[in-house]
Every structure is written in C-alpha cells, then in structure tokens.
C-alpha cells in the first residue's frame, strides 16, 4: 500500500495565546491537485509552514510519504508567497532558480553544469527562457511568480506546496501556472496550492481543503464546496459564490 502524500495528525498551532490552527487532521492521497481554501487569516500559510517544519506546532505530527519531513526534504518542493522576499536583492532570474538545487548540492558545493541545465530547462517550462539574466527587480509580479515556480521545479520533488501562486499575476501567467499544475499531476506528483478564487476551483483542482482555523472539509472539490460548508468557512459572505 502506498503511503499518503501528506498526513497531518491532530495538529494544533498557536502564535502566543491565539490558536491559528485547531486540531487539524488530514490525509492527502498521492497524485491529487489540492487547493487549500479559506478566508484571509484562516491559517492556510501557517498550515503549509507547519507541514514544512518552518513553524513548531503546539501538538500533533506531520508525515510526508509516511515519514517525518526531515527525512523527506528532497521529495518536497516549496513555492513561498511572492511577497515574503525582497525582490531588490542583487541577483538575476537564473540565479534564483538555481537556489532550488542547493538542497541537492550540500554544504560548500557550487552548482555545476547539470544544475545550470536543469535551471534553464525549468525557466523554459514556465515561459521565462528569455529572462534568465534579467535582474529580479526588473520582473513583473507574474514573472517573479514564474521564477519561484521554476525554482521549485528544479528541486525535482514528488510533492509541491505553493502559497498563493495566482495572487497578483496576469492572465497569461495564470494560464501558464494552470498548465504546469496539470503537467505535474500527469507526472504523478502531488500539488497543494493555497487558492483564493472559489470560481475557478472546480476547473483547476480535483481536491479541496476548506479551512478556517478548524478544518471544515476535505475531499473531492464537489463534495467539499457545498453551501453549507462555505457558510461554515466564510460566514454569510460567500453565499452568492455557490450557484
């Protein structure tokens, strides 16, 4: 039997006294395209960070493909929210993408020919081949997002976590990302994406996790996105989203 891509057991996490995630208990099978959905401040970013070991939960545990994260680091790719880094950092697009190889290199080693080839290939996959030597502050928001995606691609992972890749990007980039997501799924990868737009949920994803501090529902999109569940997650505000 294959282990689930991600298994979170009884996870609770608080910033000081405020609980941000409460008793999360989820199992994500391999090979799905899962959207994490919920209002602002629901704990979506926090959940990803807890799974990746960036934040220490108060209770609970996380397994990636049946083992703790620390043993599976090379099987996990990460696309953080675009706004979390300073894009005025003095470097170019190719160099940022190469960072995705650093985990494979280990201490002291510099990226080699193979790493450069992988990075250029990844840039090509996200449609940024012509921008390799572009200073990163000179890229548009959508282009920066694609650079982050390329950086995760060269990690050559089994499971990808992406935090709000669709936010603030142009229509062309949104299309490119969706194509990439489907490609990854075709290769049997598991992709977990924080997503905001309930309208496109059914079109882009096959699974959804509805979250608002508590987990409200997880499963195939049609089963999760019911007006009842949405009311639980968003309160009255979202009623009009559901047709």
């Amino acid at each position: 039997m294959t282990p689930p891509a991600v298994a979170v057991k009884d996870l609770t996490l608080a910033y000081r006294d405020t609980p941000v995630l409460w008793d999360i208990d989820i199992t994500i099978p391999q090979g799905v395209l899962l959207a994490i959905v919920g209002p602002n401040g629901a704990g979506k970013t926090t959940l990803i960070k807890a799974i990746l070991g960036l934040l220490k939960p108060a209770a609970g545990k996380v397994e990636i493909l049946g083992k703790p994260y620390q043993q599976q680091i090379k099987k996990v790719g990460y696309v953080p929210q675009r706004g979390t880094v300073d894009w005025d950092f003095p470097t170019d697009a190719l160099d940022v993408v190469l960072m995705g190889r650093y985990g494979h290199l280990g201490w002291f080693k510099r990226p080699g020919k193979k790493d450069y080839a992988l990075a250029l290939d990844a840039l090509d996959r996200v449609g940024m081949a012509d921008f390799a030597s572009r200073q990163i502050s000179q890229l548009s928001g959508g282009q920066q997002q694609r650079i982050f995606l390329a950086r995760a691609l060269v990690q050559d992972a089994q499971i990808y976590f992406m935090d709000e890749p669709f936010v603030g990007v142009d229509a062309a980039t949104e299309k490119a990302i969706v194509t990439l997501l489907k490609e990854l799924r075709k290769q049997g990868k598991t992709v977990i994406v924080v997503h905001h737009d309930l309208q496109t949920l059914k079109e882009y994803f096959d699974w959804a996790l509805l979250l608002n501090v508590h987990q409200i529902a997880i499963g195939p999109v049609e089963e999760v996105i019911t007006s009842d569940n949405l009311r639980k997650a968003y309160g009255g505000r979202s009623a009009f989203f559901v047709s």
């Binding site: 990746l52 680091i73 990460y78 953080p80 985990g103 201490w107 002291f108």
Partner: protein
C-alpha cells in the same frame, strides 16, 4: 618606506576590505544596527580585558572585544526570541547598556594610578598610527579567516539572506548559518576597532556596502566593490589622519567613505538619483511628443 606608514597602510586597508565584504550581507539583511551594537558592545570587553590583565596588549583587547561583542549579539538574539521586544529595540538597548558600561570602566581606568593606561581611549575614535607589526599580523589572520568563511559559505549565506524560509524548507540549518555569519561579522568588526574605533566602526560595515549596491545588480560584484571601497577609504583615511593632519583615524576614514557614498547615491547608473531624474525627464518628453503627434493626426 617608513615602517610605521607601511603597517598603517596594510592594517587600515585590510580593515576596510574585510568590513566592506561582510557588510554587504548586513546591508542586504537590513541589519544596519547590528554592526553598531556589536562594536559598541565591544568597549566594556576591551576595558575589562585591561583591568583583568593590566597589560596594554592589542591582542588581549581584541579577545576581550570579541567576547563582549559576541555576548552582546547573543543577548540581542535571546531578547528577540524570548520577549515581545523587537530586534531594533533590542539592538538599541544592548548598544547603549554595553557602551555606557564601557565608558564607566574607561573613566575608572583613567583614575587608576598606573602608567600605561593611555592607549585605551584610542579605541573610541581609532588610531591607525598605533598599529604595530603584531597587531597587523593578528588582523591579517582574522581577515583571512573571515574572507575564507565568506567564500566557503557563499551559497549558504546568499540563500539565507535572500529567502530564509526557503533555506529552512530545503533542510539548511538556518540558525547555524546565521550564527556563522554573525560570528564572521563580529570578527570583521573587532578587527577594525583599534584602527577605526568603536563609535564609527559600524559605518565601515554599512557605508561601503550601501555605496557598492548602487553600482551593480550582482551579489559577488557588490561584495568585491564594497571591499574595494572599504579598502580605499581605510587606506586614504588612515594616511591622511596619521601623517598629514593630526586627526583621529575613525572620523577621517568615515568622512572619505561618506564622500564615496554620496557620489554613489547621486551618480550611479540606474540607481543614482541624478540618473533617475534624467530618466524621468526623458520619459516625460517622449510622452509629450507622442501626445502632440496624436493631436496632429
């Protein structure tokens, strides 16, 4: 060449070079106050080293400065981690408490009836002219260690500085990386205290890097340029202060450094203020032309 001048030249350019190189990372991490805190925190270390050993040896002073600077930095990190106090406030607190304590100790030492106490006040504003062969030897060793560390951990420092969370997710021990980077920064600062002084040493960390950032969009070039700017101002400032005008070295070096910063802020291509102003004027002109053409047709 005069032996003293030779020592001063080597020592002061080395100080500028190493602090400039390490300072690039401090600037990119937006930790401009860290250098200030480390250098000011070093003062009580120097004073205590003297009080304990009663010897006026720069090596012993450096050891004292290193320990005090390190304790100060660790305290800042501990305060940030375990209280609600923010980093800038913690840095400011440690800076003033340590520096105040250092000044008190210096005053006490001045009142001691020993003969060899005068050298200590040089550590406030720096005095390149007091550099001896043994000092320069120690500085060379520290400089080589620091630059070698920077070279070895280049990839890790770059990744950590650009995207700390990503570095963690990739499995890098970011706490250890931060510790190593901080240790190298402390070494670079302590190395320059005798030449530049505790009060202005932080300028040697920040100013060359800020100037270098103006001229390039590549990290390695920024580090190299910053080291060159630091070395040039260290060298010329030390010579000027020691042999032309009788001035304290620190302020003289920093004045020259400030001139480099000013020129860089104004004239650097792409990022310089004058360049930006010119660009904007060109754009407005073009826009106006386009509008006129539209009107005509």
């Amino acid at each position: 060449m005069d032996y003293t001048i030779f020592m001063v030249m080597i020592g002061s350019s080395l100080v500028g070079c190493v602090s400039g190189a390490l300072g690039s990372f401090a600037v990119l991490r937006k930790q401009s106050l860290l250098g200030d805190a480390i250098s000011h925190a070093a003062l009580p270390g120097i004073a205590l080293a003297f009080l304990i050993t009663m010897a006026k040896s720069p090596m012993i002073f450096m050891a004292g400065a290193m320990i005090a600077g390190w304790i100060g930095t660790m305290l800042v990190m501990a305060i940030v981690r375990h209280t609600v106090i923010k980093e800038d406030a913690a840095l400011g607190m440690i800076l003033s408490v340590f520096f105040g304590f250092g000044l008190v100790l210096l005053t006490l030492i001045q009142r001691l009836p020993t003969a060899n106490k005068s050298g200590l006040t040089h550590y406030l504003f720096g005095s390149a002219a007091t550099l001896l062969l043994e000092d320069v030897k120690a500085m060379c060793l520290m400089g080589v260690v620091t630059l070698a560390g920077l070279f070895l951990f280049w990839k890790e420092f770059k990744l950590f500085t650009f995207d700390k969370d990503y570095a963690t997710a990739l499995g890098f021990p970011v706490k250890r990386i931060e510790l190593i980077l901080t240790l190298l920064t402390v070494t670079a600062i302590v190395m320059g205290l005798q030449t530049v002084g505790v009060i202005l040493m932080s300028a040697m960390i920040i100013a060359p890097a800020a100037a270098a950032r103006q001229w390039t969009d590549r990290l390695w070039l920024m580090v190299v340029l910053s080291a060159v700017f630091g070395a040039v101002s260290g060298l010329s400032g030390a010579l000027l202060s020691g042999f032309v005008a009788q001035l304290p070295t620190g302020p003289t070096i920093v004045l020259i450094m400030s001139a480099i910063v000013l020129i860089s802020l104004l004239f650097a291509p792409n990022r310089g203020m004058i360049w930006e102003w010119f660009q904007r004027r060109q754009e407005t002109k073009l826009l106006r032309q386009k509008l006129m053409e539209k009107h005509k047709s």
